[in-house]
Symmetry: C2
Subunit: 437 residues, 2 copies
């Protein structure tokens, strides 16, 4: 990750500012954000719900109005295509998702989908026919808040997950994706899905505090962190808190507390891994006047480098062995889940940086801590993500906020990048594009 380049400047001062209609984008975000609104101020559009269906209806209406070729695939991904000179060429794809968690903000994935739509609208209105087709995608069930796994639409589109398996997934009430899809408006598949793109670019809010706190307008995302979830169980001996000398204790709580404090210290001081979190911790059946017998905590390790994740997990295992000796306890550790880091396309990272510099937009490179559809696409084509700042790092909350000029600056950079990529000669793809994936 590199530092910010220059200072944050207003989007309207840039030569790229004229590419898109910023006010229309803000209006559309506002309109989409009304769907599924609750009294509490947030909106809830769980995947394949009636509210999700309403949002899909609105998006499809906008796509048709813009003259795009529209398609819904069998898992519910929505594609709108602006035809190019060479319709057989692999398209450039932009997009994200419009499903939400419970009580969400109005940006999140909607920013990527509607900034993508705005890109295509602006190009079409300017009478530009790109060399390659350009597709805006709204991937289904990105959040996984109702049906697991998350990133369902992009997993199926890229072949990472079998369609039949995805359709058979059930929610907490036992309803399957097939059943939920059948009850939702705009659920039936139609049209021809696009082929795998020659490049995919996704704009999303950061969902973290880095850009906001550094007053940087745009994040150029180099990849997605790998993640490991572990559970640690500490077994000591219950004893009287008054009568058991400190040196004779086998205190499961102190052993767990020391491990949690050291885990955070290692990550803070050595950056191994980049972030480490004990999100849950408790002394089981403890009482105020007993030495704790049993404690449990969970560990979330994230890093863009798989070797540093290995290193961090090894360090944790060493610390556990030391804690067993120091505190006379026995400790079990088990992996609950893991995902490998994803690296986005270096050439796209460089190209986006150059574009931002040309526009005088302050940016910084960073790594995504959260999961995104882009990490599924990255296995199939050169992929990049752009982040817009999240005020105070807040996301998945009605308090989620990005300043209007940051939204417009990010959408402009997306449009500029997509226009450049679409103009590239399909017969002479740049060498860093992975052909034939």
């Amino acid at each position: 990750m590199t530092g910010a380049l220059g200072t944050k400047s207003s989007a309207t001062s840039s030569e790229e500012a004229t590419l898109i209609d910023g006010r229309r984008l803000l209006r559309n975000l506002e309109a989409l954000g009304q769907i599924g609104n609750s009294a509490a101020g947030g909106r809830t559009r769980l995947a394949y719900s009636p509210q999700d269906g309403q949002a899909r209806e609105l998006l499809l209406a906008w796509m048709r109005e813009a003259g795009l070729s529209v398609c819904v695939d069998p898992i519910g991904n929505i594609f709108g295509t602006l035809r190019g000179c060479d319709d057989a060429a692999a398209p450039i794809m932009v997009g994200s998702h419009i499903d939400t968690v419970v009580n969400a903000g109005h940006l999140d994935g909607c920013l990527g989908v509607l900034a993508g739509l705005e890109t295509l609208l602006s190009l079409a209105e300017a009478g530009i026919v790109p060399r390659r087709p350009i597709v805006v995608a709204a991937f289904a069930n990105e959040e996984g808040a109702r049906f697991s796994p998350d990133l369902m639409g992009s997993r199926v589109f890229t072949g990472e997950l079998a369609l039949a398996q995805a359709l058979a997934a059930t929610d907490a009430d036992g309803q399957s994706v097939t059943e939920a899809l059948g009850r939702m408006p705009e659920s039936r598949p139609f049209g021809t899905p696009p082929s795998l793109p020659s490049a995919y670019v996704e704009l999303h809010i950061e969902q973290g505090p880095v850009l906001w706190s550094e007053n940087v307008a745009i994040g150029i995302v180099e990849g997605v962190q790998g993640c490991r979830w572990l559970e640690v169980q500490v077994h000591g001996a219950a004893n009287h808190a008054g009568t058991t000398p400190m040196a004779m204790r086998r205190d499961a709580g102190v052993a767990a507390a020391s491990l949690v404090a050291d885990l955070a210290r290692r990550s803070r001081d050595q950056k191994i891994p980049l972030v480490a979190t004990a999100g849950t911790m408790s002394i089981v059946s403890g009482s105020i006047n007993s030495v704790p017998e049993h404690a449990v905590f969970t560990v979330d390790l994230r890093d863009p480098d798989e070797r540093l994740l290995d290193n961090a997990e090894n360090q944790l295992r060493f610390a556990i062995a030391r804690a067993e000796a120091d505190h006379g306890v026995t400790i079990e550790i088990r992996r609950m889940s893991q995902s490998s880091p994803v690296r986005f396309d270096d050439a796209l990272v460089a190209r986006a940086g150059a574009l931002a510099e040309r526009g005088g937009i302050a940016y910084r490179r960073l790594v995504s801590g959260a999961s995104h559809d882009a990490q599924m696409l990255a296995a199939r084509c050169p992929t990049l993500m752009l982040f817009a700042p999240s005020r105070d790092g807040i996301s998945h909350s009605p308090a989620e906020h990005t300043d209007d000029d940051d939204i417009i600056a990010a959408a402009n950079l997306l449009a500029g990048l997509v226009r450049d990529l679409a103009e590239a000669d399909p017969a002479a793809s740049s060498p860093h594009f992975k052909q034939g994936l």
Copy 2:
């Protein structure tokens, strides 16, 4: 606290071994331990329960058989008195309690009561009429497991708690002590309670691991630790575990874990206080992939020196202020309860040590970490406790165990001490006895 004196020797090698009938004591402990027995192997005789009543019936029968003057006072304390030459002299008192926690061992307070009874029996059988009366007491509701506060009988006997207040205490089902007493055998008060004693000596199991691990037969107890209970609430900020850099976190869980680890380290390394325990700790409403917003833990501080308790609490408050700055959290601390240290009588400590040395019994001085009736008596008369070793420090469990020869050695020392004290001229009490209180 001083080290052990000599090595542990068999009680039967001592000249004092003949004072009591060790086999009868062991038999009586066994018989009393049968009452309230469960299939799980432990016994449950909660205060003022039918099982407690059965145990009281047996104890009273033994007292009557021994020819003692028997009395039950209005809170249910049982007293058996061996008359002395001067019945008007303040008596020597020995004793403890026979109520238990749920699923208890067969020793605990029963050891002190039955070793006291054995002392009186042996003196009576030897035809000895002591100068002062000697009383064996079984104080009611020591454990406080059903009716609060604990040490109820000794609190009422010493005037620390009003009788009416004690009788009005209710259990979890809303039943009062008065009601429970009324339903229990041997509950009605009769006889004349003894006056405040000129000395009180209580034998109890240690309930901690010190004597057992050091292979020392007897503990001579210099006092009871003071105790403070505190609750600490840590408030941070919930954030995404993947997207929030370590330096930008306000992690309530890490702040709590650091405080708990440091609390134990200070006590272990500096002995301030002697023992410190976080018996409960949890991250409230945490999730594996969120930075914790709220954590809570409890603190149990114990030390024989009130100034070191003050010091320990101050150190904790300093650590909390540092943690607030280091972790960007806010922390509340509140005192839940406290009790001051109790110091037993120096002259009695010395006298018991001299007796043990004469008998060739290995002993060590120590401080009680648990509460006992003796700390109530200590406010009213010169008081001492003796401890017998607890195997592995286990108590309040069917696994509670003291070796037979340790039981007999401790009962012999108790008997020797009581005989000496009772022979002291009532008209010329030693100067360290607090006269007239």
